[in-house]
Each structure stands twice: as structure tokens, then as C-alpha cells.
């Protein structure tokens, strides 16, 4: 038993340092959706993530504060839209998070 507990403890210690900002499920969904496209508006993200508007806003603000996303208000085909895109920092953070998770779970 002691050996098993010790092994579990060692494995838990081997868990890589994860980016907590991305690790949260709602934000992970947002970032994953943004990672595979160039940019999208608020409605697209609402539909794809199934988050409420308030929730989505709050998560996007956290991501924006960390410099992971860029939120811009612009006209697309003469319609005002709030467009969100992942910044280079955000893309790198997601790539690193993915690597860390794959490395850990793949062992």
C-alpha cells in the first residue's frame, strides 16, 4: 500500500505546471474554438460554447486582461460586430498547455 501511495504521490508531483487561466473548462472551450479559426464575433462564441452572455463576457475579459485575446469592435459588411481573436501570446499559451497535458496524460 505504501508503495502504491508513494507512486501516486510521485505521479501527482509529476503533474506539470498548468496554465490555470486556460485550464478552467469554460475558458478552455473558448480558447480551443478561437485557436482553430482566425477570428469570430460574440454570437459565434455564444453559440459554440453554449455559455450565457454574462459568463462569456467575464471569461473573455479575463483572457483579454492576460493578453490572450484581443477584442475589437469593427464593421464587417457594414454591420457593427464585436470580434474576438487569439493573440500570439494566447496561441503560444494554448500550444504549451496542450503540450503539457499531452505529455502528462500520454505517459
Amino acid at each position: 500500500m505504501t508503495t502504491k501511495a508513494q507512486s501516486n504521490h510521485e505521479e501527482a508531483q509529476a503533474l506539470p505546471e498548468l496554465d490555470r487561466l486556460i485550464h478552467e473548462p469554460a475558458r478552455l472551450t473558448i480558447v480551443a474554438h478561437l485557436f482553430v479559426i482566425s477570428e469570430a464575433d460574440f454570437i459565434y462564441l455564444e453559440q459554440k460554447t453554449q455559455l450565457t452572455r454574462g459568463n462569456l463576457s467575464s471569461h473573455l475579459r479575463k483572457l483579454e486582461d492576460a493578453g490572450y485575446t484581443l477584442v475589437e469592435k469593427k464593421f464587417v459588411e457594414r454591420i457593427p460586430r464585436t470580434v474576438v481573436q487569439l493573440t500570439e501570446t494566447g496561441r503560444m499559451a494554448f500550444v504549451n498547455y496542450r503540450k503539457a497535458m499531452l505529455g502528462f496524460l500520454g505517459r
Binding site: 474554438h33 482553430v36 479559426i37 460574440f42 455564444e46
Partner: protein
């Protein structure tokens, strides 16, 4: 076959969602039904108006129904590049269809051996032209039902030729299948993507 990972699936779904509204299927189906009715009532020249109406209505309906529900999305650079390539390929398919069309009109303008042979084929060349367009659209835009439509068109035109049907029956059959399927897809799309209230700039 390479297994698709979660991110690849997300990317494909983001792209394909824009083609799952069924509007094009419905409009094309409806124009084929219209063309068939024009043939039945012996006013074939009106039949030519039907596809033009579909072409005019399609972008407007997309803008009015799809964009407010699905939202705006700009695809990845890779996908945008593929879309650009698809446009060129579709133009090549269009030119090929045009050449076929011109060839067909030549076939009906004389009585040489090859022209007689083409005439014996009846409506099959028209079916092949339609099937090629459906298959090309399906393959290039990753919409699986395109190949299904192509098979349906080939089957309808082959049976029409073998059973000596009037062209209107084949057009009506294909048109009804396409418009009904388009309607089902449209209802599914509207349910899956309900219209959300407008986003005010102060919302976030």
C-alpha cells in the same frame, strides 16, 4: 485513415456549419421543381428563370437567416487558402459544364454519327452535368450529401432513360428530394442555432 483529433474536428465543424443550413438545397430543389412544371405546362423558357431566382435569393437569405444565428467567423489562413483554391476549381468545373452545354447544343444541331449518338443518350448528358456539379460542390466544401445528390441524379436520369420518362419527371423527383432535404436541414439548423438577441457594445 488518419483519425481526426478534437481540434481538427472543431475546425471542420466551424467550417461545415455554414453549409448545413439547407438553404441552397431548398432553393436548387425548388428551381428544379419549377423547371419541371414549366416543362409540363410547355413553357420551357420560364424554366430558365428558376435557377436565376435561386442565385438571387441565396445570398440574401444567408445574410438574413444564417449570419444572425451562427455569427461571424473568419476561418484559419489554411482554410481561407483552401476556399480560394476551391473557387478556382469551381470555376474550372463551371467552364467544363459550359463546354458540355455548348457541346450538347452542337449535338442537337446536326445529324452526323456522333450527333445521333448523343441524341440517343437522351437526357443522360444533362444528368451527368448536374451530377458533376453536385459531386464537385460536395467534395470541395466537405459536404457529404453532395455525393449522395450526385448518385441520386445519376440514378434518376439513368432510370428515366431506360424507362423512357419525360425529363420533367426526373427533374421533379430530384427537385422534391433536394427541397425536402433542404427543409429538414433548415429546421434542424434553426433549432440548433436559435436567434440570439443583438449584442450591444456595452454588453462586454
Amino acid at each position: 485513415m488518419k483519425q481526426e483529433n478534437g481540434l481538427e474536428k472543431l475546425e471542420r465543424e466551424a467550417f461545415v456549419a455554414a453549409y448545413q443550413d439547407g438553404i441552397l438545397d431548398f432553393l436548387v430543389g425548388l428551381s428544379l421543381v419549377g423547371m419541371s412544371l414549366c416543362l409540363i405546362y410547355d413553357i420551357p423558357s420560364f424554366g430558365a428563370i428558376m435557377p436565376v431566382m435561386a442565385i438571387i435569393l441565396h445570398p440574401g437569405l444567408k445574410k438574413a437567416v444564417v449570419t444572425p444565428r451562427l455569427g461571424y467567423v473568419k476561418y484559419s489562413a489554411f482554410r481561407e487558402h483552401r476556399l480560394q483554391q476551391n473557387k478556382w476549381l469551381m470555376m474550372i468545373v463551371g467552364v467544363w459544364l459550359f463546354i458540355l452545354g455548348v457541346g450538347m447544343s452542337f449535338a442537337y444541331s446536326g445529324y452526323s454519327a456522333w450527333q445521333r449518338w448523343i441524341r440517343e443518350l437522351g437526357a443522360i448528358p444533362i444528368g451527368l452535368v448536374l451530377a458533376t456539379a453536385a459531386a464537385a460542390l460536395g467534395i470541395l466544401y466537405g459536404v457529404k450529401r453532395g455525393s449522395g445528390y450526385a448518385l441520386l441524379i445519376v440514378a434518376a436520369f439513368l432510370s428515366g432513360h431506360l424507362l423512357d420518362w419525360h425529363l420533367s419527371i426526373q427533374l421533379m423527383t430530384i427537385g422534391l428530394v433536394l427541397s425536402l432535404n433542404g427543409l429538414v436541414l433548415f429546421v434542424r439548423f434553426v433549432r440548433r442555432y436559435p436567434r440570439l438577441p443583438e449584442v450591444k457594445t456595452s454588453d462586454h
